[in-house]
Each structure stands twice: as structure tokens, then as C-alpha cells.
């Protein structure tokens, strides 16, 4: 045997010994509901650089060099880390189940800055409602969800049972609703159609309270609510679900998604319906309130989103949607609402420091009357918006981000409220820039400016913003100033409407824009599994647009009102424990101040609160989720005019406060099969008199739902 042969033999022996000493460890990483977490990281504490990443089914595999004791940690954004010690002689399978972090501080958000940023690093106070929270509330649309999750938000009825929002003193036309950053066309009595915003396929909702016109332009006076859609994570997925509740309330939904190669697609269909609600039922009084019968209605919502990754760093998103709602407002007439939506967006990562987004968006919202007698469907309103948008981000010195962009929108409005059912068109354009400056890991400054232009009013408006954040141990302090504005709409400028054959309402082309200054201070404290956030805000709003009686014209005319000041405090505390128990308590105080001697017409409730305690636990073949949630709204006293043609006399009216609780029980009984039972209005609250801002409940009601995730049934366990 030569010396060289001996060396090879020895090396071979050493390698064989090494291979025998290695241990193969594999397993899965799942979330609260045992759903697989794709892209979760497994790290070995004792060996730097050794680890693995889970695949699309949440599986990982790694090899340890010897049979010593090791500590493995599983991490995933938005979840608490899970740590397990691997005994010296242990091999084979090691599974991790991660608990979701309720504070979501590791969650990426976009609304406050228009660039993806971790929630803990955003200098603008942003509230996130996560997918798990949406699931827990079992909400059908955005109204149900926001009221359950956030204090200071109230959806009530305005005339003709049209839904109307009040968010910390701001109405529907002062709060901007976005879907993946895109505006919605159409409005009724100053509110978008909230039933378009169903909670099917929503990943999260980001809420920025206060003005945000430096990024979003008109309407972002009181806040921005941005609904972020979920992308398909599974190779394929199919879900069907249904729910049945009181008043013959029905909800059926289905989704189909795939994630293969360069394509990622998600299709959602949802149908809902509910019968009319007789509020006088069980009473001997037919006049139980401002109204005694809530119209029955049905909705159909279809949406598709297809993502195509053309090359590394180049991604196109195409989307299309159809929405239909029918309201049985009388035996002879039904109100119909439709929307047609489409869009194309391209995201291009030019370099690791530069990325560019270009998008086109189309949204059409129609209203029509269906005449039952003749079977005719006559459209009397159509709002069509085409929007072109560009957004560019440049990162410099590895930590500062410069954002610049611009939008163009063509806004077409045909309305029965215009003379001769006519139409008007407005073009709007804007440019904006923002600097996100991070000189130190504990300090962040954000400054932005936007210039908006409107063709019909020849209006140009400048909106500034300045935000600061300072991190001090477990505490984050934030402060900001932001300008907000709302340009007069085509409706407000050109209305010429004989209201119910009773009086005229005239538009006013000379309206000034509403403008606001928003100041906000916030402190956030995070320790272990607890989080406490307190935010104080102060708004000055000038030139609010509303209708007022004009004696000379003998009708109502849109006009700018005097200054309103809104101040308040939001407080939010939450906790979550490994045993599965979690809780959240939120409180909002709102104070409105108007000039001396002027009537306070707003009916914003000063004190509101929401609370939730939940228990979520998953075992291998069974999962349980129980949640008790409640909301409290204090009484409010407001001024109302005694005559519509004279604003001389007012009288006080007090709307009573109330508390409503909901108990829901969700069980995962088998692979992908979930059953949800809920009892709403648990303590049987019933208003003595139904005002437009009273809950339309007739007492305790129950609902039952079933959801099937088909792909889960085919998965190996």
C-alpha cells in the first residue's frame, strides 16, 4: 500500500464517521390555526449560519453535525418566536407552532408612508387589523369590522337608510377608503358604498387616523382606511363557506387560488342576502323610531387578481371586479348599485436601491332603479374614474428613502341630481415627494409635500406633512403635523335637484376646499406580551362643505361652513399569552368645538370603547377559538334645527348610549373544516326608540357558519 492510498483510505473513513455522526431533523412550522407558514426561518443557536427556511407547505429540513444537544428557534414575521431544545440523542421530527403577535409590530405596512415599512418603524401612527382579527369577528364587510375593532367609529343611517360614517368627528367624505391603495368611485349622501368592501380575501386593514393629504390628496382629512388583499400562498387552494343567521341572513362564498411558477391568482365570489327587519316586531307600537322597517337587500361580489412575475424584480398585477347590490326599498321599486373595476400595475425593482411602480386603475359605480311593474332597470347615476399613477422610491445611505410620485385622474359623473340627468367631467393631477430620514436607529423623521390641481375649480392646493419618531427603550414616541383638504366634488358644484318635489338643492361652483391641520402625539409601550398605545390629536377644520337654506333662491345651496375644532385621545392596550388567551381594550374620547353661539350639529359620541377577550388553541386534529367582544358608545347631545328654511332656532336632542356584546365560538373539527357559531347582542339590548344612529337590533340573535378549505383535506399530515 502506498502512502497516497493510505491517506485516501483514512479520509474516506473520517467522512464515513462524519456522515454517521450527522443528524437529519425535519418538521413543519404552523401558525395559530395550524396553517403552514411559508418562509419561516429555523435557526440553530449553537452554530452560527446553520438554519433552514420552510417551503410552501411549511416544511423544513436541516442536518446537524453531531448528536449534541441543540436549541432550535423558529421565527416568522408577525408571530412570536418559538424555541425548542433538541436532546442529545433526539432525531427525526421537530414541529413548531407559532403564536401570532397581537401587536403586529413586525408587520409590514404601507399606508402611512406609501413604502413598505415595519409597523414598529413607522413614524405615523398606524392601526392594523390582522387577518386573524378579521376571522375572529366573522365580519362580512368593512362596517361590521371597524365598529367591532375600533372605538371612535360609528356607522349609522342618514336619509333613506343610506349608511353614513362618523370617525372621530369626521364624516364619510373626509375619510379616504382605499383598496390596495386605489380609491373607490361613487358615493351616496357623501359615503362610498361600504358593502363593496367585503372581508373576503383581505390580508389586513391599515388605518391611519388624521390628515394624510400629503400622500393621498383630497378627502384624506380625517383618516385613511386601506384594505390590503391577500396573495395566494398555497400551490393551490379552494375554499367554500356559508353562514346563516337571523332575519334569513345568508352569506355564501368561495375562492380559488393558485401559486405556480410565475403566476399567482386568486378568485373570490361572495353572495349575501338578508330579509327586511321589522323593528316593531314584538311590540304593540308600529312607530318604534325614525323608521320601523329596515330594507332587505342582497349583494354579489366577484373579484380576481392575477400576479405575473415576468423576471426577477419585475412584477405585473392585473385585477378585475364586479359588484352588485339590490335593496328592496319598496314593492314597486328596488334600488340597484353596481360597480365594475379593473386595473393593471407594474412593479419594477430597478436596482436594490430603486424601485418604480406604474399603474392604471378603472372604477365605475352605477345606481339604477328597477321598476318592478315593467321589469325595467333604469340607470340614473354613473361615476367613472380612470387613474394613472406612478411611484418611485430611492434608498440612499442604506437607510433613507426618497419617495416621489404623481397621479392623474379623470372623473366623470352622470347624475339624476344634475339638470336634465346631465354629466360633468373633472381632471385632477398631482405630484408629491417625501423624505424618510433615519439618521439614527432610534430617530426617524418623515417630511412630505404634495401639490394637487383640479380642472373645474382651477384649484391648486399644497399639503405638507412632518412626522417624528423617537425610540426610548421599550417606548416609541411619535409626533406629527399633517395638512388635509377636500376639494369640492362635481356633485357639490353642479347639483340642481328638486328634492322629493319639495325644495331645490343647488350646487355652488365657487366653493372653497375644506382644509385641515392635524396635530398628533403618541406614546407606545411594548413589553413582553403587552402593548399600550396612547395617542392625542387635535384638528382644525376650515370651510366644511354642507348645504344651507338660501332665502333668495328659495332652496338649499352648498356652502362653506365655519371652523370646527376636534380634539381627542385614543388609548389601546392588548396582551397575548402562550396558553392561548388574548385580550384587547380600546377607548376613544372625542371633543368637538365650534364657534361661540353656533349650533353643534354633529352627533359624535364623546366616549366609545371596544373590548375583546379570546381563547385560541389548536391541537393536531382539533382547534378552538372563543371570543367575547363588546362595544360601548356613550350618549350624545346635539343641536338640531327646528326649521329647514331658517337656521335661527335649534333644539337639543340626546341620543342614548348603548353597549352590545357578541360571543363567537369557532371550531376546527377536521382538516380544513371549521364551524362557527355566534350569539350577537348577547344581553338582548333593544333601543326604546330607533334613531338613525341606534343599532338596528331587535334583540339577541344567533348565526352558524361552515368553512371548508379543500386543499387542507389533501395534505399529508
Amino acid at each position: 500500500m502506498t502512502g497516497r492510498t493510505t491517506i485516501f483510505l483514512l479520509l474516506g473513513l473520517l467522512l464515513a464517521v462524519d456522515a454517521a455522526a450527522q443528524r437529519r431533523i425535519s418538521g413543519t412550522v404552523t401558525g395559530d390555526r395550524r396553517e403552514p407558514l411559508t418562509g419561516a426561518t429555523i435557526l440553530v443557536k449553537e452554530i452560527a449560519g446553520l438554519g433552514a427556511v420552510t417551503d410552501t407547505e411549511g416544511r423544513y429540513e436541516l442536518r446537524l453535525p453531531d448528536k449534541k444537544e441543540y436549541t432550535l428557534t423558529a421565527t416568522y414575521i408577525g408571530y412570536f418566536d418559538a424555541k425548542q431544545t433538541l436532546a442529545a440523542d433526539h432525531g427525526g421530527v421537530l414541529d413548531f407552532q407559532l403564536n401570532e403577535n397581537p401587536t403586529l409590530l413586525e408587520q409590514v405596512v404601507v399606508t402611512g408612508t406609501r413604502t413598505p415599512k415595519l409597523l414598529k418603524d413607522v413614524p405615523i401612527v398606524t392601526r392594523v387589523i390582522a387577518e386573524s382579527d378579521i376571522r375572529r369577528t366573522d365580519a362580512t364587510n368593512i362596517g361590521d369590522l371597524l365598529q367591532t375593532e375600533l372605538p371612535g367609529i360609528e356607522f349609522s343611517y342618514s336619509m333613506n337608510q343610506q349608511t353614513s360614517l362618523n370617525m372621530a368627528g369626521f364624516g364619510g367624505n373626509s375619510v379616504l377608503f382605499l383598496v390596495d391603495g386605489e380609491r373607490l368611485a361613487g358615493e351616496t349622501l357623501d359615503n362610498v358604498d361600504y358593502s363593496r368592501l367585503n372581508m373576503d380575501n383581505v390580508q389586513r386593514i391599515e388605518i391611519v387616523k388624521g390628515a394624510a393629504s400629503s400622500l393621498y390628496g383630497s378627502n384624506a382629512v380625517g383618516g385613511v382606511v386601506n384594505i390590503i388583499s391577500r396573495e395566494s400562498q398555497e400551490p393551490w387552494s379552494v375554499n367554500v363557506n356559508g353562514r346563516y343567521g337571523a332575519h334569513n341572513e345568508q352569506r355564501y362564498g368561495g375562492s380559488a387560488g393558485f401559486n405556480r411558477g410565475r403566476f399567482n391568482s386568486m378568485t373570490n365570489v361572495q353572495y349575501t342576502s338578508i330579509d327586511a327587519i321589522d323593528l316593531s316586531k314584538g311590540t304593540d307600537n308600529t312607530q318604534v323610531g325614525d323608521y320601523s322597517n329596515i330594507y332587505g337587500h342582497s349583494t354579489l361580489n366577484v373579484k380576481e387578481r392575477l400576479i405575473f412575475t415576468a423576471a426577477e424584480g419585475l412584477r405585473f398585477t392585473a385585477r378585475a371586479g364586479y359588484f352588485f347590490r339590490e335593496r328592496n326599498s319598496s314593492e314597486s321599486l328596488r334600488d340597484r348599485y353596481r360597480s365594475f373595476t379593473g386595473g393593471l400595475k407594474g412593479n419594477y425593482t430597478v436596482t436594490d436601491k430603486d424601485d418604480l411602480e406604474l399603474s392604471y386603475s378603472f372604477d365605475q359605480y352605477d345606481k339604477s332603479d328597477y321598476l318592478v311593474a315593467g321589469g325595467r332597470d333604469v340607470r340614473d347615476y354613473s361615476n367613472v374614474q380612470h387613474t394613472l399613477r406612478t411611484l418611485y422610491n430611492h434608498t440612499f445611505a442604506s437607510r433613507h428613502i426618497l419617495t416621489a410620485g404623481g397621479d392623474y385622474m379623470r372623473d366623470y359623473l352622470m347624475s339624476y341630481q344634475f339638470e336634465g340627468n346631465g354629466s360633468h367631467i373633472q381632471h385632477t393631477a398631482d405630484v408629491f415627494a417625501q423624505l424618510d430620514w433615519n439618521p439614527h436607529e432610534k430617530f426617524n423623521l418623515i417630511a412630505g409635500l404634495r401639490l394637487d390641481w383640479f380642472s373645474e375649480t382651477k384649484l391648486t392646493h399644497l399639503s405638507p406633512k412632518l412626522g417624528l419618531m423617537y425610540k426610548l427603550g421599550s417606548c416609541s414616541l411619535r409626533g406629527s403635523y399633517a395638512g388635509g383638504f377636500r376639494a369640492p366634488t362635481l356633485k357639490e358644484m353642479y347639483m340642481n335637484f328638486y328634492m322629493g318635489n319639495i325644495f331645490m338643492i343647488y350646487g355652488n361652483p365657487d366653493l372653497r376646499p375644506e382644509s385641515s391641520h392635524n396635530f398628533s402625539l403618541s406614546a407606545e409601550y411594548m413589553k413582553g406580551r403587552h402593548n399600550l398605545t396612547v395617542t392625542g390629536f387635535y384638528n382644525i377644520v376650515d370651510g366644511r362643505i354642507t348645504t344651507a337654506w338660501n332665502q333668495a333662491l328659495g332652496g338649499q345651496v352648498y356652502t362653506n361652513m365655519s371652523r370646527l375644532q376636534v380634539a381627542g385621545v385614543d388609548a389601546n392596550a392588548s396582551g397575548r399569552y402562550p396558553c392561548g388567551i388574548s385580550w384587547r381594550l380600546s377607548y376613544a374620547y372625542t371633543y368637538e368645538h365650534i364657534g361661540k353661539g353656533e349650533p353643534m350639529l354633529s352627533s359624535t359620541r364623546p366616549h366609545t370603547a371596544t373590548a375583546r377577550i379570546a381563547y385560541d388553541k389548536d391541537w393536531k386534529n382539533y382547534g378552538l377559538s372563543v371570543a367575547l367582544s363588546g362595544r360601548y358608545l356613550s350618549k350624545v347631545t346635539t343641536d338640531i334645527y327646528t326649521e329647514i328654511t331658517s337656521y335661527e332656532k335649534t333644539e337639543k336632542r340626546t341620543y342614548p348610549g348603548y353597549t352590545i356584546w357578541k360571543l363567537s365560538l369557532s371550531q376546527r373539527v377536521w382538516r380544513g373544516v371549521s364551524v362557527t357559531l355566534a350569539v350577537d347582542n348577547l344581553f338582548n339590548y333593544r333601543p326604546r326608540y330607533y334613531y338613525s344612529n341606534s343599532p338596528t337590533t331587535t334583540g339577541t340573535v344567533c348565526s352558524a357558519g361552515l368553512s371548508l378549505d379543500i386543499e387542507q383535506m389533501f395534505k399529508k399530515k
Partner: protein
């Protein structure tokens, strides 16, 4: 001009029209288009002499007008409230209100004109004559929101006016058609059967009354 040249010259116009159409929305065709009111015919829009039936269509949107219907002469005359009534008329319509020219009305449960009861079988007390009213015929709604409604003093037939129930306790009011056939006994002893089939035009504007009639009803 060559075909290709023609196409080239037309193309920009077509593109412009298409883009304009898309700019202002899509799928317009899924809706029905209402006929313009100015092209519509009012009055006796259908008369069948064989069956003695027909249809009357009225623009009763104006609060200040009565529309006087002459069933004998098949004509409609419009006059301002408080103005002198025409020489010949049998019933009159103001918005959804009705009055008769000395007649009386009863409500029938018959499903159609061919299923009416014999007039002679209806007891006299079932017929309602007109009433003199001071708070029914609204002529000025401009201050309604302040609780001020101006009425004209006039005759009013409560039975016939029941063909449409308007619940004003909510805003907007709730309208419910009775769907019933009303038997109107005229002052000359002849009888008409009337049914209000619609109170809106095809653009859903209220105050356009469509009345089907049978006259004379066989005794």
C-alpha cells in the same frame, strides 16, 4: 378614395368615439333607456271600443294641477287648482288624490275587469261619496320640512284615493299600490271600473299616473 384610405381616415374618429365611450363607462347596454317625457303622449293612450277598456296616462307631478278625465268623451283637461272646472268630467286626479263629479266609489276585490261583481249586488252603503277637505289637496310642499304644508280646500274621494297608500312617517315616504279595482258610479248612473297600475314613469319619477279603466261597466 381607396378602401384603405377610407379606413385610415375613419379610424381616428372611431378610436376617439370608442375611447370617449370607455372614458365615460362600460356596459351601458345592460340598462333600459327611459323614453323622454317630451315625446310621450298623455291622456287616453289606449282605447279598445270592443271591450270598452283602455288606459289613461297622466303627468300629475305638479302639485298645483287637477287633471279632469271625461270618460264619455275620452278626454283629459288640465286646470290649476282652485280654477273653474271644465264643463264635462267624471273624475279628476291631483298627484295621487282623486275626486269625482258627483259620483261615489267602492273598492272591489275582483282580480280583473272580467270578474267584477254585478253593480246591483253591491249595497248602497259600500259606495263612498266625495268629502270636502281642507287638509288633503297639497299645493305647496316647499316648507314641508318645517312642518308647513299649504292645502287647497277641495273635494276628495277617500275611497278612490286609497289606490295608493303613502306612508310619510319615514323619509323618503313608502308608497304602496293597493292593486285593487275601484268601481265609480257616475252621477248619470253609469259605472266605471278603475285600477291604478303605476304612479311612476319609466325613469322612476313619481307622479306619473297610469290608470286602466273599463267603461261603461255592464249593470
Amino acid at each position: 378614395m381607396s378602401v384603405s384610405h377610407k379606413i385610415t381616415s375613419i379610424l381616428p374618429g372611431v378610436i376617439a368615439i370608442l375611447s370617449l365611450s370607455a372614458c365615460n363607462g362600460i356596459l351601458e347596454d345592460i340598462y333600459d333607456t327611459p323614453e323622454p317625457e317630451e315625446t310621450k303622449i298623455y291622456g287616453f293612450i289606449a282605447v279598445d271600443d270592443n271591450t270598452h277598456t283602455g288606459r289613461i296616462y297622466l303627468d300629475a307631478t305638479d302639485y298645483t294641477e287637477w287633471h279632469y278625465i271625461d270618460l264619455h268623451g275620452k278626454s283629459v283637461t288640465t286646470a290649476i287648482v282652485d280654477a273653474e272646472t271644465p264643463a264635462n268630467w267624471d273624475l279628476a286626479i291631483h298627484r295621487y288624490d282623486a275626486k269625482t263629479n258627483g259620483g261615489a266609489v267602492t273598492e272591489s276585490t275582483a282580480a280583473g275587469f272580467g270578474m267584477l261583481p254585478a253593480i246591483s249586488s253591491i249595497p248602497e252603503e259600500a259606495f263612498a261619496a266625495d268629502e270636502w277637505t281642507t287638509d288633503k289637496i297639497t299645493v305647496d310642499m316647499s316648507q314641508m320640512m318645517d312642518g308647513i304644508i299649504r292645502y287647497a280646500e277641495d273635494w276628495y274621494n277617500p275611497c278612490l284615493s286609497g289606490w295608493l297608500h303613502v306612508d310619510t312617517s319615514t323619509m323618503p315616504p313608502v308608497y304602496t299600490l293597493s292593486g285593487r279595482i275601484y268601481l265609480l258610479r257616475l252621477s248619470d248612473g253609469t259605472c266605471a271600473a278603475l285600477r291604478l297600475t303605476d304612479f311612476m314613469n319609466d325613469a322612476a319619477v313619481k307622479g306619473f299616473m297610469t290608470i286602466d279603466y273599463l267603461y261603461p261597466v255592464q249593470p
